[in-house]
Subunit: 439 residues, 2 copies
């Protein structure tokens, strides 16, 4: 570590969750331990204020509404900065006022459809780039800025590239995005370009893009913005902090979220453990991880196992993914699998598989209450319904579903599903319209 | 008025801005006075708390973060409900937790491009259906619910139909949307269907849709959710209230917004006049109304006139619209023109025309700071730049631009603009990628 670093390895560090080795967060570029293990970010919390003092502070930061020149002062992530990145100087924070989202009670139709009366949604799509990725990306890009990074890269077909490009723009860091030509929609391809990212389409698969990105990191000094980078988990813990704060520091019975690469479960789990360790809450929620039947390596192995960590790991096998509208979670071998397993087991949680028809129906039911969610959110909602049916979730439990993105980002798949519902008339007579509307 | 009405015509009423006649808000369906004038909603404010008491209350409502079962308790619109709809009982409010959006200082690039150091953006796209329409629609649908309405209809190709469908769903009111077949994109067509709206495509123009809608209202008892309905203006005043609140009840020098049918300027102007009358602020902001060169009937007539209300009205003529990426404001004869003229003149404001190239450039510059806005927001930003160039806005003025929607809703037009920036490689070699990235 050089002397100008914003924090030392005694304050914030990386620890391999497999072999326990410690590394510098600011110096690291590969984000995979030589032993093959994933890293956790850890902090020395011995000098932060008490839970009582912090609760007061967190409330204070929500209060009033004053001209605050820095976007992080309106962020629902950095509101909890003593828990997220306690040693990061505020002038290193890269923020777009992200994560100040509503937590709403589900509407009539969704409550009835799932069978959960006390069902809530945290609408993480109401954030700058329209998906939960902003929660983690604000932390990743802040670490990149603190580390003096000049260029980041990611290989991504989905929300990650848009979020990385937006936060890199805010940080004035160059960003390049590698995508497989012909395998992304026009809008997916262009969203990062809006933020000035350099987009390169490769004539190969997503795996080819990933390999090129890793070689850029290893040989050309580029910083990776992908899921292996555990700084993203730190920011994304705010999901757990917001839910705890909202419910008066009493965790709900369950938090349900879709599982793609696994960052949602990993972040919620790590955040809840921290809240309990630091005395913010006495109990943690049980995590319900939900996967579509097309891409359910974790849910399938969980249900085949004896539901212990060891048994689950033994049953786990990557899978060949099928077709699903929940494309953003269409992953056969999740990067953060070990963290998902750790957190689901630690929270006494469960996994569910959402049938393809059910996850699309969940999006439609949610829409019929006025809320347009992405198909991945549909996976979580269908998982809740199934868990109720199987008696895992009880009808009177309080359940929070993580809505990971706005449906607007996946409008094309919704189009296919609903176009048949549009009525096309062959005349412009009001009486014809009135007849169809049964007026 | 029947006896079960939530408020009487002595508490909240409609007044024709032309002839002064008074009508019942709950009983009205046509929303155009027999004399041809537009209606304003007016309230008896004589019994509401003082400005000082309300400021305290508004702050209190932002503070803390507690499980609030009703979405309106997290709404950035209904936070100001004593000013918006003081006699509406809370159980009649139809809300999706809308309008709790950030106001952020513009990034480096946009500040430099416009020439305004003290430039801010209110990001009204970070709301449930992705556009500012939610601000007004929550008020309209609440009035519809209070009036016992069973079915609403709108003729719209744009954000209005999506917002109407979402809030109708939340209110459990039937919604039908009339669209001209072949003149809307697939996503525009399907978004209202997500919320269960009945979508009817007519083989005609947008004007045919409008005529059928008006006949449904006149002859079949359907309630109109269109721009003529002034309840929308009431909710949308929250833009002015939020800006005032944010800047400590000192209005910025200028508020700039795009002008389509004119509801933005009308709402901001009416809201500011109310704030001044009730003693919340001592001065109001000057309104800068901005139109694209393709659809600038108000800006063109303003600049040809002597800048008095009478002179402007004399110069005004509807125009044949041209092509523009700012499609949501591609309107040759704005419905609320008389209100725009009233508010721009009352605020000592101005109008600007944004060249097509400049409004697209504005979206790109804003994107390069990490914020993806719609082309209509681009119109406002390009208008600010031009007003600075012409000496109307001074470089040290505080300016707030209203960002009316997220760019995600207009990603298709952004795609056309940026596709040429994507690099397509003919191999998957890391060295080729590194060369392009100049690493």
């Amino acid at each position: 570590m050089n002397i100008t670093s914003p924090f030392s390895v005694n304050q914030t560090w990386l620890r391999c969750m497999q072999c326990g080795s410690i590394y510098s967060l600011l110096a690291e570029r590969q984000f995979r331990c030589p032993c093959g293990g994933l890293y956790d970010v850890e902090h020395d919390f011995s000098h932060i204020p008490t839970a009582g003092e912090l609760k007061y502070l967190f409330n204070l930061r929500m209060g009033g509404f004053n001209a605050r020149p820095e976007p992080w002062e309106q962020s629902g992530v950095w509101r909890y900065r003593e828990l997220i990145m306690p040693f990061l100087p505020p002038d290193q924070i890269v923020s777009l006022a992200e994560g100040n989202v509503p937590i709403v009670r589900a509407g009539h139709n969704l409550r009835e459809w799932t069978g959960v009366k006390n069902l809530w949604l945290i609408l993480e799509g109401m954030t700058p780039t329209g998906s939960f990725k902003d929660y983690g990306m604000t932390a990743l890009m802040s670490v990149a800025k603190a580390a003096g990074i000049k260029a980041v890269a990611c290989a991504s077909t989905d929300d990650t590239s848009a979020s990385a490009a937006a936060f890199a723009a805010a940080a004035r860091i160059k960003c390049s995005v590698l995508m497989p030509a012909g395998l992304v929609t026009a809008v997916q391809g262009v969203h990062p370009a809006i933020h000035g990212a350099f987009i390169i389409m490769l004539p190969g698969s997503f795996d080819d893009c990933m390999r090129v990105q890793q070689e850029l990191v290893a040989n050309y000094g580029v910083y990776p913005a992908n899921s292996l980078n555990p700084a993203r988990i730190e920011g994304h813990q705010a999901t757990a902090f917001q839910i705890a704060h909202y419910f008066g520091w009493n965790m709900p019975s369950w938090i349900a979220s879709p599982v793609g690469n696994g960052s949602n479960c990993s972040s919620v789990g790590k955040g809840m453990r921290l809240l309990k360790e630091r005395g913010f809450v006495t109990d943690t929620s049980r995590i319900l991880g939900c996967q579509s039947e097309a891409a359910c390596p974790l849910a399938r192995s969980w249900s085949n196992s004896d539901r212990t960590k060891k048994g689950w790991l033994e049953c786990y096998q990557p899978m060949e993914v099928g077709e699903t509208t929940a494309t953003a979670a269409r992953i056969g071998n999740p990067v953060s699998k070990d963290k998902v397993i750790r957190e689901v087991i630690a929270s006494n949680g469960a996994m569910e598989i959402a049938m393809e028809g059910m996850l699309n129906e969940a999006v439609a039911v949610c829409g019929s209450d006025g809320i347009f969610v992405c198909p991945q959110t549909g996976t979580a909602l269908a998982g809740i319904r199934r868990a109720v049916y199987r008696g895992v979730i009880r009808p009177y439990d309080t359940v929070v579903a993580v809505s990971t993105a706005t449906g607007l980002k996946f409008a094309e798949s919704a189009t296919r599903h609903l176009e048949k519902k549009i009525v096309r008339l062959d005349n412009c007579n009001t009486s014809s319209v009135a007849k169809i509307l049964q007026l």
